[in-house]
Symmetry: C2
Subunit: 374 residues, 2 copies
């Protein structure tokens, strides 16, 4: 019986999977946090919650994010979501209409493309380089059309691993102010820095309320919780809380919020995150060594410095989607670049994830992969 | 600091509130269930879950619903949601486009109207009587326009308390088959029967996959869990699981699902529901007695037999929305009928809820109300 989203065969090392290692899921943390919270004589976590999310939880969360981001975070600018995806869907609901245009990076997070398609949005991909979005091309595009928002993964990008530089962040936010479009910054990897300290998150550059930042407990605690947050200015927060969805259902996940609040306040979240960073740093380093040792020089990548992914560029004439069947027959899998393209390009790229498997499996995966890359 | 969706003053008895009594929220049940689940050496509840919802949970849930509904329930026809509202929003996302028409009952659940407005849907209200929807008027309306779906609360209606008869259910489902529109049945009150056994739920009349039934743990366990289900045929279920929202986020609430699964399997859910039924039955009876004793004969109602609400009809020349300020000054509040109307009507109705307060407060509320109804 299949009990999680993916049902992986033991025969295949699927480096395409962008999920946490099941053996690192913090069951003991949640047990301790749940016991702590549910033995308090306060049943309010079982009632319809405030649309914006419980204020005590937002206070603890603000403190936690503030420590991680190295900047003050105002709890009134936090809005609790059922994960970054639910946050992005709510942003689409409240800030777009079908037929609107949104800008994304090329490459971009492939399932965000699915979400935008479901909302009837036109998606325009903008080129990126080793420093993230090439902001000048955005400026040119803005002369033609103003998007409802620009969706970006500014730090440790999914899939490319690159991080938008501080000066480009500055430039991007100024453009959003001048042209009146929101920046929807998917910052779920920001706290997962291994070898590179990223610039401050996008919200820290925001002086006029144009940045809507998505955060999540999926990457730092557990995806099954369906818990995340949006950080934004009062006006966009208000617009989100006034949706029929929230007025009817109340806050998005009060029960889980309260348990995770205990995990944060007991220091368990911080401790778990530190543990993940140590393990993921080692895995990234081991995968990178294996790639360097095993693959030919015609396959290149930019070391990511944090996050979940390596993004391999293969020779221009290779089609990674077509390579997949051979790879699977050889016991390895990956995400082909095409999936991450708004314009049907990137056929010679592939995404590898280093958090699902341990170093031995990663090395074995790269060995199998090398055997099928011509 | 406000910690739940509503921050009620002690001075006002707000009979408009459609939420469970805070003193009846089952903290001990959730504590026991969480301990049971989180001490098992299985962390799968923390991983991205299956889009349709965990299969073990769906098995337990199917058994539980089956007992309550008195009909077999196929776990493959269940889809786990983050509450009935999230289910309804997902149905709108997958089965409507902005500009589409949906039919509702007049009166209807007021926050569903908000949700439909957010989705850009045109809403047409259809008349009801003491037996629910007047199906003939639906038939006439269908000659003009085919809706994307008909949204109905067939059992212990919110706000009117009425229950659609078996023969009308039959008729309604046949019409949906002939004309090709879905019936979205909000059946969240079905298991809360006090004095009347309702006909089988709408799904039991469905032979061609046109009924999408919304269920929820909000009314039978706790709203803060954000957990519910959809019961439908394989085709609509498939359509829902293939949304970008679910592909990206995985199943809707795996962590809470697993804990509630323990509550169901340990018999705690059944026991809590039985307790609620006993208490709510008494409160309904006490409210009804107070209404009969205190209000003039010009105010009438149909005893609901289950659910949460009494729906009062006042003399035609009264406007309950206008009456509200006076009522509040006299320490009582209610939901004016206008809120439940798709067509801006029902000004001489009001909704009273009997589950939030105990019998003493309900009687005092009615006393205060009587003093302000001319």
């Amino acid at each position: 019986m299949q009990i999680t989203q993916l049902d992986l065969s033991d025969d295949i090392i699927d480096l395409g999977v962008g999920q946490p290692d099941p053996s690192l899921l913090p069951l003991a943390v949640l047990r301790q946090a749940a016991t702590h919270r549910l033995t308090q004589p306060d049943a309010s976590l079982l009632q319809y919650g405030m649309e914006q999310g419980n204020e005590y939880f937002r206070l603890s969360l603000a403190q936690f994010i503030s420590d991680g981001y190295g900047m003050p975070v105002d709890p009134d600018r936090l809005f609790i979501t059922a994960g970054a995806t639910s946050g992005l869907d709510l942003v689409c609901a409240r800030f777009t209409s079908p037929g609107d245009t949104v800008f994304v990076e090329e490459p971009t997070y492939f399932l965000a493309l699915r979400l935008f398609a479901d909302r009837g949005l036109n998606v325009v991909g903008l080129p990126t380089d080793e420093n993230g979005l090439v902001v000048e091309t955005l400026e040119e595009k803005l002369a033609e059309i103003r998007p409802a928002f620009f969706y970006t993964v500014p730090t440790f990008h999914n899939p490319s691993g690159v991080t938008l530089t501080a000066s480009r962040r500055e430039h991007l936010v100024r453009l959003s102010e001048q042209h009146g479009f929101y920046i929807v910054a998917d910052e779920v990897y920001h706290l997962l820095a291994y070898t590179t300290e990223p610039p401050p998150p996008m919200v820290s550059y925001d002086t006029s309320g144009m940045v809507i930042s998505l955060g999540s407990f999926s990457k730092i605690l557990a995806p099954g919780l369906r818990l995340g947050w949006i950080q934004a200015a009062p006006d966009p927060i208000r617009r989100m809380t006034r949706s029929g969805l929230l007025l009817s259902g109340g806050g998005m996940n009060p029960f889980t919020s309260a348990i995770v609040q205990s995990a944060v306040e007991l220091g368990l979240q911080r401790k778990h995150l530190n543990r993940l960073i140590g393990i993921y740093r080692q895995r990234a380093s081991d995968l990178e060594a294996a790639l360097n040792e095993t693959l030919s020089a015609s396959t290149t990548f930019i070391p990511p410095g944090g996050g979940f992914f390596y993004w391999l560029r293969l020779p221009q004439d290779l089609d990674t989607a077509a390579l997949r069947d051979t790879a699977k027959r050889n016991g390895v899998n990956f995400q082909p670049g095409l999936n991450f393209s708004a314009g049907g390009e990137l056929h010679n790229f592939m995404r590898l994830c280093f958090v699902y498997y341990d170093s031995d499996r990663l090395r074995e995966g790269v060995r199998r992969l090398a055997a099928v890359i011509p």
